[in-house]
Amino acid sequence: MADLQRITDVELERALRDLGPRYPYPPTPNLASKVRLRITAQPVARPRRFELWRDPRRLALVAAVLLVLLGAAAVANPATRDAIAHFFHVRGVIVNRQASPLPSFSPVTPLDLGRRTTLADAQSSVKFNIAVPAELGAPDAVYVVSDIPGGEVALAYTPRPSIPLVTQTGLGVLVTEFRGDLNPVFLMKGLGEGTTAEEVSVNGDPGWWISGQPHMIYVEVGGQGQSVPLRLAANTLIWEHAGVTYRIESGLSKADAFRITAGLP
């Protein structure tokens, strides 16, 4: 009688191997996109020279010093003056043409977007009304930097069928908003050959559409030509309204990027 036989180790092992593929696990969730979002948006230990720039307060301080230095340069150098004058329509951003080729980066440099939080919490941490593009809906992740003047918020959207992956960010669309009036040189952009900057109007406000080859976001040290490159950025639409600077980075065409601005300030 089989039911009186004691199950041997070999039989039990065989029974367990047989059970393995049929074990009643819940369905495996798709972790890949969530993990990707988290690792591209979180700071990571970088070479020491980047440490200074990860502290937004120091960054703001350096930016303030730079503003003075660039102001002096603008007077001395007509070319610089033109570039700055053009981009001062949008406070918080300075765009330069890079004479030399852009440095290469590993495929994705972590974005360092700040503290991950909820939209409601981010709103209470910044001094402007956060605008969420109706076209995109609720962001997949929200990040806030609260220790620069007025704060900064980043809304991250993962790729979708209609929104291609941007290898530079690991995201589909990245929307950042900050008080450009309080942080006049918060971001600097270096454009190489193959990148175009076009003056545009976004909902009636002046802005820029930077497209083509990825451009570099960087901080320049003391106007000595030494720059600390942060990362490469994809197509970017940038504009300012009522002191708040909005930035949409994506792999979208100009028309599609503009579609996202519908309903935004």
């Binding site: 039990l12 074990y23 009643p24 972790l31 690792i39």
Partner: protein, 196 residues
């Protein structure tokens, strides 16, 4: 699975250099294993998902300490189990394997008579229920070896113990499982040999 370790080495190396696409490919490949290993520890899906996700994020930031060329799978398992244990400690009071009684999927073997298939299903359900009564360590080592097919070397790494210890722990876990099974349990009849 053949050739996988070589793929892993290349992907891990690229991920160590900041290639998030490469890391995503690793996550894609190992998410089922990570989730299931975590589930063996937590016993509920929400904590298992949480633990697996956290483990992948932590593993990414720990890649700098990962020895190039070492196997990725047992290293990942160790991180997953640590994360899962943290969650289980806090969660076990409110849900001790509170998942509804799931029944192991039927083998769907058309060669089996309905009686034999029902018998096999009943046996597997008993096995699942009994496994859930085992100590977490016992359940995990049995799962590593017999569900996830880790080699002894990989198990030794995943559990941070010598290989000899793996063998003895495995055999003790098997013995405890057998003792925990109902006294009247019998092996289901092999397909086509229903003994009536």
């Amino acid at each position: 699975m053949e050739g996988r370790p070589l793929d892993d080495i290349a992907l891990v190396e690229r991920a160590r250099n900041g290639d998030v696409n490469a890391y995503e490919a690793l996550v894609q490949h190992y998410q089922e294993l990570a989730f299931r290993v975590a589930y063996q520890v937590t016993g509920n899906a929400a904590d298992a998902e949480d633990a697996a996700q956290e483990a992948f994020v932590n593993a990414y930031y720990a890649l700098g300490r990962f020895r190039p060329g070492a196997p990725f799978r047992p290293w990942l398992c160790r991180i997953v189990v640590n994360e899962a244990r943290n969650r289980r400690t806090s969660a076990q009071r409110r849900t001790v394997l509170a998942e509804r009684a799931l029944v192991a999927q039927s083998s769907g073997d058309s060669a089996q008579s309905p009686e034999a298939a029902a018998e096999a299903d009943a046996f597997r359900s008993t096995l699942v229920a009994t496994l859930r009564t085992l100590r977490q360590d016992d359940r995990l080592i049995l799962a590593y070896r017999l569900f996830f097919d880790l080699s002894e070397a990989e198990m030794a790494q995943a559990l941070s113990v010598p290989r000899g210890t793996v063998k003895s722990r495995l055999s003790r876990a098997l013995a405890r499982l057998r003792e925990a099974l109902p006294a009247d349990i019998r092996m289901p009849s092999p397909a086509g040999e229903h003994d009536g």
